[in-house]
Subunit: 340 residues, 2 copies
């Protein structure tokens, strides 16, 4: 029997890592949702002027990063690297969307957890002293996701009550260690999550598949740090929707942790689930990414937010793995953002 010393897993950054700027891009449904005003760019053409849905998703990433760079007043060559990934096979929306930026590329795969994964990783890279400015980018597109993971849109299949609506959106954030950005929101703590598999095999119930991972990460965070949920302006999971959010609340309560007063889910915030007919809520890498890079960052800017936990959640599966009978592991990476 090996004796293993239990290590702390929450990483407290040694130096300030600022979110210099951010940008959110969406389409019509996102514009019409409750957070529509917080997007930097929305386009009623779901193809964003491109020939395919996949190219449209790439274009959203390009627009998001370009807009964030403009807001930060920096040239893309000032970035030390871009960290990005997405839901499409071989992350092609990141690849074709970001190739015009002449910057080292660090490709990630975290499914819908990509935004918090890229920010968490980017923060540690900057904390290492080897990087000064990084971009974290991701996206999803309803039409490219439906085509790849579910049914051809033309088929017009019925959606189950637990199914979620993939957000057509992209978010980009510029991370920086520059003291000129003092006063900007800064990342102070990060926690990389574990893959958790509770045996969910229903690809129309991603919320249930991801919720246990969110519980694992959130519980670990509060147990290790001793922080009080009441001290946060919001504790936001990625895209668990109605079903997943309820599971998180219940499982955390059974562990004597009550976060309900401050807890919400980006998938429930981005759409009006009833009026917009999205069933259990929004999902996709672009969901938590655009809510963070649009709405949350605006709340920091106007002084309403000073302290949040951002926990994007990912369902780790492919269309093929589901057809081969595999269950769907979830993952949740956590980022604490504060304004001092």
């Amino acid at each position: 029997m090996i004796n293993i010393e239990k290590k702390t897993e929450v990483i407290k950054l040694n130096k300030p890592v600022y979110i210099m700027s951010s940008a959110a891009v969406g389409a019509t449904k996102e514009k019409e949702g409750p957070l529509g005003d917080y997007f930097d760019i929305t386009n009623d053409d779901v193809k964003f002027g491109e020939k395919t849905f996949e190219a449209a998703e790439s274009e959203m990433q390009r627009l998001a990063l370009n807009t964030a760079l403009k807001k930060a007043k920096i040239h893309h060559k000032e970035l030390n690297a871009v960290l990005a990934g997405d839901l499409l096979n071989q992350c092609v929306s990141s690849i074709y969307g970001l190739i015009e930026f002449d910057v080292p590329f660090i490709g990630l795969f975290g499914a819908c957890s990509t935004m918090s994964e890229s920010i968490a990783l980017g923060s540690v890279l900057i904390d290492s002293g080897h990087f000064s400015k990084l971009a974290a980018v991701t996206s999803s597109h309803f039409c490219s996701a439906e085509r790849q993971f579910r049914f051809p849109l033309e088929y017009g299949g019925q959606r189950t009550p637990t199914s979620q609506w993939t957000v057509t959106g992209s978010g980009a954030a510029i991370l920086s260690d520059t003291s000129a950005d003092t006063g900007k929101p800064q990342i102070t703590e990060v926690l990389f999550g574990k893959m958790i598999d509770k045996g969910i095999v229903d690809i129309s119930n991603m919320g249930a598949a991801m919720a246990p991972a969110a519980v694992d990460t959130i519980l670990k965070y509060f147990r290790e740090t001793g922080e009080n949920p009441a001290d946060f302006d919001i504790i936001a999971t990625g895209d668990l929707g109605v079903e997943g959010k309820r599971i998180v609340e219940n499982l955390l309560l059974s562990e004597d942790l009550d976060i309900r007063e401050k807890y919400n889910d980006c998938g429930l915030m981005i759409y009006d689930c009833e009026k917009q007919d999205v069933h259990a809520g929004g999902s996709g890498c672009g969901c938590s990414a655009s809510v963070l890079c649009g709405y949350f960052m605006k709340k920091f800017e106007i002084g309403e937010y000073k302290n949040i936990l951002f926990v994007s959640t990912g369902a780790l599966m492919s269309a093929g793995s589901a057809m081969q009978g595999n269950s769907i592991p979830g993952i949740a990476h956590l980022v604490r953002i504060q304004k001092m």
Copy 2:
């Protein structure tokens, strides 16, 4: 016009990051190749006892990491994180292969550049002081790759002369900052590559697609550091094969950099191209991963190697992106490994 100060991009690590142990897993063709004796595990059952090729690939990752952990005499819970990714849609071989390890998971996508990407990223994470032990893992499988990217095996299609043979293999390396590992090979420098697209659209000529990225990275390394190629025991690219290796040599010569004396490609080392009927050579994430984790690490162990450059190369595309007419960008991340 923005005035941009040109930044150095080669990262020199501040503290020693050791490769504590490594392991390589392969199948029959890899066993029969020139490096067959350097694999830790080979299995003549291409399904590794599993029901599908995809599950076999997962099993290879599990075996590789388990073997590396055993050689390092550590429990998986001592790892601060696992960095992994692969070629399959949504990186499912990493997900299902590594889920049993109760460790934070940082998912990557770098196509066949994943081994050097994961080691480069892991090295900087350890250098940050926030991580002490990490695992870097990847894999590929001939049958799962053919099924996903090319033709059903049953179709028995002819392969073009420039096509490469996806290695059925996996490599895992344990990185550590522990001084007890002094004397082990250590990572001293890393360089994250840029995506380079020279317009190659032939999915049967990945070598040509990836070569310009390898040139960009290798040229930048030597120009920035002023190192002499002759001082390295080997400068190894990932999986460029016959075609890509020749392009790299020629393009570097045109830039007055001659690395030919020390240059080889893992895709040409792992198979006997003539006798084993693999056309232009080996490819896949598992190619450079198993050559590094098997052959190169053994060469360090017996004292033959003291100083190498390891440059895995990736072709960034999906079956869908190729069908939609996109060209294939390449990427190459560089890692310098030395034994002091």
